[in-house]
């Protein structure tokens, strides 16, 4: 390879793989910084001018931010679930994608915490949730587990960082990366434990609201049924999100990074988890209809406020649930690139939609009969501050892909 084609920062790039010229990479980074700056501006507006700059109000204490928080954590569930499948159930082939799942999980959980930093009215008091913890609140459980799990993700990401070509030359870091890899099963098991609890508690957040019949669910002991449904839905959509981002990265990198059999394993497992989730979700929905009626909330009243008609239920469970399920379970369709991506997109959208429904739609519907239904849509400040994490995620993935050996099959699939 002559000096004209070797990137300027090739000393940092993993051995045996090709990357684009540094100038194009920097151009790509600059491109992402544009919309990122708008996000930063929105953050500064919220912190400086207070939350009146958003379209949140007393009827909608929760809006896009909280729905996005719940959604991004569900999508980041691929990290813990892939880790569980690889390190605890010992599905060996998944070792080729688990690193990338960790990268995706890292940015998802960073985004969740970052969005909370702008969402709470007094960010400087955020530590009160730890210091004055109310152990009976679902949100306390969420905060503790997400923070701990983010630490786990940092520990899982650390060996990838230490395996950078130059850093790895230092004996101590090489050894540290090696031994962290050895401890990965234990770390992954801790991650699964924490993830189940925070995914579940996020389900518990709307599920325990007995003052809101739309959201409230009965359950097992202190855990409403949504606790278990949220865990299952995260297991169902997490791998799909990992597949989606992997394929997008392959598109940008213009090369295959993971063998198709690895993707197929994730897709198959995702399909099976989706099946379990949808069956239980359907049963829960039917049961909920009967329990809500007992407190004077006829089912029709839940879906008689525009735009939240009955189409919402059909879309969430039918179009974005059963359709991707069929695709993921049927081998021929699952192994077709187009249908696989479609299934992943529909699946992830459905889960995100579920999070929106459980938070925002809950607040749309009045509980007191003389109260009016009120509509909500986010304004540009909320959109910019939420999407900022998309751009940051792209930056983070780009940097990780360029300088770290994330994809172990890349060299094999792209011989130079």
């Amino acid at each position: 390879m002559d000096s004209a084609t070797v990137p300027f920062d090739s000393a940092l790039i993993p051995e045996g793989v090709k990357r684009c010229q540094l100038k194009w990479f920097l151009f790509w980074m600059a491109l992402l910084h544009g919309p990122l700056m708008i996000g930063v501006l929105s953050y500064l507006m919220c912190w400086g001018l207070a939350l009146n700059v958003t379209y949140l109000n007393n009827n909608f204490p929760f809006g896009l931010w909280i729905a996005a928080d719940l959604g991004v954590i569900a999508l980041g569930g691929g990290a813990f679930f892939t880790g569980f499948l690889r390190y605890v159930l010992d599905i060996d082939d998944l070792k080729h994608i688990v690193n990338f799942a960790v990268v995706i999980g890292f940015i998802c959980y960073l985004a969740a915490q970052g969005i909370l930093g702008v969402d709470i009215g007094q960010p400087l008091r955020g530590w009160f949730i730890f210091w004055h913890a109310n152990v009976h609140s679902m949100l306390t459980e969420v905060a503790f587990c997400i923070t701990c799990y983010f630490s786990v993700l940092c520990v899982e990401y650390l060996p990838l960082l230490l395996e950078n070509r130059q850093i790895n030359k230092l004996g101590f870091f090489h050894g540290m990366a090696h031994h962290l890899h050895g401890a990965m099963p234990t770390i992954a098991a801790i991650g699964v434990f924490l993830s189940c609890f925070h995914q579940g508690s996020l389900g518990g957040v709307p599920g325990v609201l007995y003052g809101r019949p739309f959201a409230y669910r009965e359950g097992l002991l202190i855990w409403p049924w949504t606790f278990f449904l949220f865990i299952l839905s995260a297991m169902a959509c997490g791998p799909c999100f990992t597949i989606l981002i992997t394929r997008i990265t392959e598109g940008f990198a213009r090369k295959q990074l993971v063998k198709r059999n690895v993707i197929d394993i994730l897709a198959k497992i995702s399909g099976r988890m989706l099946l379990v989730y949808l069956v239980l979700k359907t049963l829960d929905t039917l049961y909920w209809i009967s329990t809500a009626a007992k407190v004077g909330a006829p089912f029709k009243s839940f879906y008689s406020t525009a735009p939240y008609g009955i189409w919402v239920l059909i879309a969430e469970i039918g179009i974005f649930g059963y359709i991707p399920l069929v695709i993921l379970l049927k081998k021929e369709w699952r192994q077709n690139d187009f249908f696989l991506l479609l299934a992943c997109l529909l699946n992830c959208t459905g889960i995100f939609m579920n999070r929106w429904i459980m938070t925002v739609q809950t607040l749309v519907l009045p509980v007191m009969p003389f109260d009016k239904a009120v509509g909500y849509h986010p304004n540009w400040v909320e959109w910019a501050s939420t999407l900022m994490w998309l751009w940051l995620g792209a930056i983070f993935i780009s940097l990780s892909y360029r300088y770290l050996p994330i994809f172990s099959q890349e060299r094999e699939l792209n011989p130079t």
């Binding site: 630490s151 520990v155 050894g175 801790i190």
Partner: protein, 54 residues
């Protein structure tokens, strides 16, 4: 049981919750230290072996 915000509360839920938290934090700290100490020992042993060879 170390009370956060100095509120002594005798409650099983609190013990389970805080207990699980401490267990997780302890586990993570131990694992990182384990990896670091072993890496350090590897480094020393490797240097020791190099000196022996010379």
């Amino acid at each position: 049981m170390f009370p956060f915000a100095f509120e002594w509360v005798v409650e099983p839920t609190r013990y389970v919750f805080m207990g699980a938290l401490y267990a997780v934090l302890l586990g993570l700290v131990i694992l990182i230290h384990y990896a670091g100490i072993r890496a350090f020992l590897d480094l020393i042993c490797k240097k020791g072996k190099e000196e022996e060879h010379h």
